[in-house]
């Protein structure tokens, strides 16, 4: 356990290292999620338009 807490502490630099990695992870994830959400929205818009045309 002391090995893990030592690792997390990063010799006193823990807050700097982990905040930098956390922010980066969130931004990278956002860059993949955003187009994924946009695609789903486009698909559902198109499906709605098609249903309207069929009626």
């Amino acid at each position: 356990m002391s090995g893990l807490s030592e690792f997390l502490a990063m010799g006193g630099h823990g807050p700097y290292v982990w905040s930098a990695y956390a922010i980066t992870f969130v931004v990278l994830a956002l860059n993949v999620l955003e187009p994924w959400v946009a695609r789903r929205r486009l698909v559902s818009e198109e499906a709605r338009r098609r249903r309207r045309e069929e009626v």
Binding site: M10, G14, V17, T24, N31, V32, P35, A38, R39, A47
Partner: protein, 247 residues
Amino acid sequence: MNWSFFHKLGSPKWFYDISGRWLPWFVLATVLLLSVGIVWGLVFAPQDYQQGNSFRIIYIHVPAAFVAQSCYIMLAVAGIITLVWRMKLADVALRCAAPIGAWMTFIALITGAIWGKPTWGTYWVWDARLTSMLILLFLYFGIIALGQAISSRDTAAKATAVLAIVGVVNIPIIKYSVDWWNTLHQPATFKVTAKPAMPIEMWFPLLLTVLGFYALFTVSLLMRMRVETLRREGKTRWAREALEKMS
């Protein structure tokens, strides 16, 4: 020389088909390169004898800064192709890459600021490297805003292309800022042409995360371009069929 590939490149349907086949491989490369590189960099790489463990921020800071600058060069090239050959796909690439480049510049700036605190004793200084990177962020904002402000697609394509080409002058300024001016920022640790300025067990994970960031950039760019292509080609039959298949 056979130029037919160049005309195919302009075809949205061709791009949509081929990018769909490439995408899973880039996803795989991203996951492998980033997971191995980051675990290696955080856990197994030795700590720096001067900076201790704070140097581990390098494994995200340097890749983000690389991609941020390469992405801008790509925008300028896409801008030239848009102006000279009117290739639709180049404009799609330009518009879709700009937000990713802005986010990469943001990562480079914010991780650099966090790294600066324990290393230099300050989050920010107005030195050449940091300021020119901030200008890069504003250039990206300018391109995104310009593209959204102009409703005519042709005019927007031309205007963003011109801004992308003009702004590329900032890229050599960023690159040589650490040599031309006195700066707090350390000189390049990662060069293609020279032997690495760091031990191999520190350098190799950096190589992995740099490649991983490029792979992730490609994944995000292809995903955005595919959505944008479907949106622009919404009236054609193949695009409608592709959308129908997905619902």
